[in-house]
């Protein structure tokens, strides 16, 4: 299995995303597709970590942190099964510059409402140099997508092959076509402004003097609701299946869960949705690839 690349992208683009897709293969990875066509499974973000809080219980901690970049705020959740990341978070003294590598998550409590977040794999306190370099990389990445999306909007009909022919990489071309199909023709000027904002942030001639480590301007994003921790009906069914299949304590194998769920009338799609939600709620975790375990 080829390791997923870690996308550098700004919070504002990430939080605009509400499309989730799946790759191929035995255990297809899931992706969040942004309006500019970034197909994100893993992210690498560097920003100012603020508001670290245990939103779980003492017995089942769930650490939440906000990570701000020049455009907005990422929401990071680390449960007891991201032990290293959770331990790092719990010891941080915010505000502090932090680098986070993690998996993209999207949570939809009801139709029309989606929340994006990050499930961290590693978290590390860093210095301003690392953060500034990240902003530059995020800008470069954004510009690439803006250029490609600009070309895509001129194309009629838009095809992946057409994009590849003009030099867009296949992986990006794929995301762009999916984004266009889902979001339609997005307003690129908003993202061009975001790019300029990111670049100006790096330049002293545009920058307000701030002490290092001082929290940056927070986008006036409304406080996001906590995902409810109680499982719903189909999630409860899936939880039960996972518990019953976990005979050796190493977790229930994915194939077994799928088989059992199908026989109980749960479709593959809704099974995956339930599993993602259960992961988000911190009610199950993946001890090793391809196995699920109840917490």
């Amino acid at each position: 299995m080829i390791r997923e690349v870690a996308w550098r992208l700004f919070a504002s683009e990430y939080n605009d995303a509400n499309l989730e897709t799946e790759g191929t293969g035995e255990r297809p990875p899931s992706y969040i597709v942004t309006p500019l066509g970034a197909k994100v499974n893993r992210v690498f973000v560097v920003g100012v970590i603020t508001d670290v809080e245990n939103v779980g219980t003492d017995g089942q901690p769930m650490w939440r942190a906000r990570v701000s970049d020049p455009t907005g705020t990422f929401h990071v959740y680390a449960g007891q099964y991201q032990p290293e990341a959770a331990a790092t978070l719990s010891k941080l003294k915010p505000p502090v510059f932090g680098a986070i590598v993690g998996k993209s998550r999207i949570y939809s409590p009801q139709p029309g409402t989606t929340y994006t977040s990050i499930r961290p794999e590693t978290i590390k306190a860093v210095d301003e140099t690392v953060r500034d370099f990240w902003i530059l990389e995020a800008c470069r990445s954004l510009r690439k997508r803006l250029d490609a999306m600009g070309e895509a909007q001129k194309m009629d009909p838009l095809t992946k092959e057409g994009l590849v022919k003009i030099g867009v990489k296949e992986a990006i071309a794929d995301g762009i076509v999916q984004a266009m199909n889902h979001y339609g023709r997005v307003d690129l000027s908003r993202y061009t402004a975001m790019l300029a904002e990111g670049l100006r942030y790096l330049l002293p001639e545009y920058r307000e003097p701030t002490a290092p480590g001082e929290p940056v301007v927070e986008a006036a994003a409304p406080a996001k609701e906590e995902p409810p921790r109680e499982p719903d009906e189909s999630e409860a069914k899936v939880l039960e299946i996972i518990a019953s299949l976990d005979k050796d304590g190493k977790g229930a194998p994915w194939e077994g869960i799928l088989e059992s769920a199908t026989s109980k009338g749960v479709s593959k799609d809704s099974l995956e949705e339930s599993i993602n939600t259960l992961l988000d709620k911190g009610l199950i975790y993946e001890p090793i690839l391809g196995r699920m375990k109840k917490i």
Binding site: M1, I2, R3, E4, V5, A6, W7, R8, F44, V46, A99, V101, E121, T122, K124, V126, T129, V130, D132, F133, I135, L136, E137, C139, R140, S141, R143, K169, A171, T192, L195, A196, L199, R200, L202, L203, P204
Partner: protein
Amino acid sequence: MQNAYTKEYRGQVQVNFGSRTAVAKEAPTALPEYKPGVGQPYAGKPTPIRVVDLREGGSNVAVTARILSVERREVEVDGAPKAVFSGVLADETGKTQFSAWKDFTLKDDEVLRIEGAYVKSWRGIPQISFDERATITRLKPDLLPPSERLNISPRMWIEDLAERGGAADVTVRGILIDLREGSGLVYRCPECRRVLRKGACRLHGEVKGEPDLRVKAVLDDGSGALTAVFDRELTEALLDKTLDICIAAAKEAMSTEIVRDELADLLVAQPIEARGNVTSDDYGLMMIVETAKLLKVDVQAEAREMLEGLEGSA
């Protein structure tokens, strides 16, 4: 096969079977036995290709390149000794190992057109081979830049390395986003050099391990990721500490984790430039790092340039 169709893919003709293709079994004697590779004559004209575009499985290709080095070796083929002339050749797009299975009296620095070569991966890196089926034409030496200009390590994006399936002597810039298990102070099996887990070798069981230092890190450049392996010498340089000092520190802390933690502190989230051979297998790409340095980037200069470009085009 009936109603199959052909397509060109990266300069190679491919036969494709679609939904309208009918497939039926023939008697095994319907065709003579197939002998792969050497000896099968090529049909048609060779396909011109740049060194950077060489892909495993390519056959009857033509390259125009300068020989950077060549040496004669004796190998055994089917039990008989055979001479092979191998070395490195390059064009303006990159360099590659080659093997010539016939004595073409190749010499350092000469510029050639090689027609009728084939591409095979060796240890996960595609390289070019040619034999008596190939035609060699000697060209004017000034057709390509001099050897010292070609003999550099080209900077490449990881997505291009993934597409290409590895490459010899390339440079990658990215961020070390994670340290893999088995980084830091490790103990190796004296028999097979495998890293021990809990004092035991996977093959040789419980053995007295020999200490070593290494880093296995995920290097991600935003286009793709590879596993970068740093040997003891490089790790000592990064830590600015010798193996002996690390062993002493681990003893005092009663854990080897202390070395790993120090490496993580030093390396994770840092931009670096690494040079080495990149191999490719089912688990992805791996770079055996030859040289590495922490990257210092003039962020402001680059941001200013990008902003000017943006305002200029608006």
